[in-house]
Symmetry: C2
Subunit: 293 residues, 2 copies
Amino acid sequence: MSVAPYEELLGKVEAGLRDMPAGVGFPELEQAMRYSVTAGGKRLRPILLLMAAQAVGGGIDPLLPAAVAVELVHTYSLIHDDLPAMDDDEFRRGRPTCHRVFGEAMAILAGDALLTEAFTLMASPNLVETAGPERVLRGLQELGEAAGVRGLCSGQAEDLRSEGAAVDSDALERIHRRKTGRLFRAVLRIGGILGGGSEEAVEALGRFGEEYGLAFQIIDDILDETGSAAEMGKGTGKDHMRKKATYPSVWGLQLSRTKAAEALNRSLAAIASLGEAAEPLRELARKALERTR
Amino acid sequence: MSVAPYEELLGKVEAGLRDMPAGVGFPELEQAMRYSVTAGGKRLRPILLLMAAQAVGGGIDPLLPAAVAVELVHTYSLIHDDLPAMDDDEFRRGRPTCHRVFGEAMAILAGDALLTEAFTLMASPNLVETAGPERVLRGLQELGEAAGVRGLCSGQAEDLRSEGAAVDSDALERIHRRKTGRLFRAVLRIGGILGGGSEEAVEALGRFGEEYGLAFQIIDDILDETGSAAEMGKGTGKDHMRKKATYPSVWGLQLSRTKAAEALNRSLAAIASLGEAAEPLRELARKALERTR
């Protein structure tokens, strides 16, 4: 079986995202949803999901609804995080944030609707037909546990409440595990589950996701400290200015780089037993590794 | 088979709601979720779900996660609707609204986490074991379509945008169908599906839900116009003051009462073919009918 590379997967994900529901709801709400969904980005989560499915020999096209679903969860979380009551961000991916264009109420509702759409997509009949209802339901549980009070929402809540406070490395790890790590872990596991992988393969993919997600967050923190606004597509140094808990602020830049590299090496070790079909995942980790040097 | 009456179902639903996840996330977020979930209320949606399951001969206890799930969706929608950027309400069920106690950010996150928890509960292994994975996935789709851009979120969006504008009866119906009717319809259908009902029974229950939901909304609008604050547990006359689209404002009080009664009679007709086990649903409709006189 040939393995689709990043660019091919990206094309499929973008097509899936353009296929969002239209003409079924209040027009301005649909516009706000579409505005945020089509804002670009690396589409890392859906691509990781598809790569995980490939890694266990699963198909790509039938799993697209699940890939789109995890990107919608990510997009919803960005819309809500950007709100004035939350991080109060004005730009995202180089464009005004959703609430600046459509107002706060519509942005809240757009996030709500995207989150709901994600779970609706995860239960879509096509997906169920391909992966079987039991695996789809397991995938749904993984997504729900990663996105809710056990994951994303609690990570964001603690992150907000720790602004300006002294954050030790335990709290920092907990925040980022919940805010980033759990969803990355879930995304890889969902791909493995829906792709028909064995328990061992799903476990291995989940560990890859956790370690890769950790490295991703550390590198993001480092770039926020050192990168340019153009490179990031958003204001930089902002986390620092707002006294948010970041890896460089707790560990310093050099140790942060080392920790990211260690996590990436662990991610590679986690999927060592998976065959050739896991190569695109390894490539991603190796590329990230280069950025830590 | 004996049929559990309202009070017994209420007790089970309250117990299920108290059983919310604890100690798994950020403590203040869990508090905010619990604060809103335990604020009381009639628990109409989860009780209707269980009554629908009973009406087709299904059990009650194994379907409790689904009943709790629909109440969590309702609670999340109240928290977000009450936000300053939305309806800006200070009281709900006689208590300060979530954002007044925990702040806006935590209230947004509590709503997000409750919505997520609802879908996670709908995929819970116990439920799957009882109802079978196919029926659970159908239920999930019903919930997602009623709660998202096709329903609740679009209803709230249009309701907000039509504040102060002249709303015709078409727009009014569309808003309330999406804001209330679709979720009531879904709740009854989910109960019928998970309870193992035939296609015809599920259809009949869905029609009951739609008509009952419509009547419920009209009566709520009438009470907002005529009731006391104590009776409502929230400020009254508020919809009127904010120039929100209400049935009395479009049709007048008397015609609104007639329309509510007509909808309730249609709801009773819809489930005429269901047997004795549907009696608790009929009782609810008859009680509501008395209130329209």
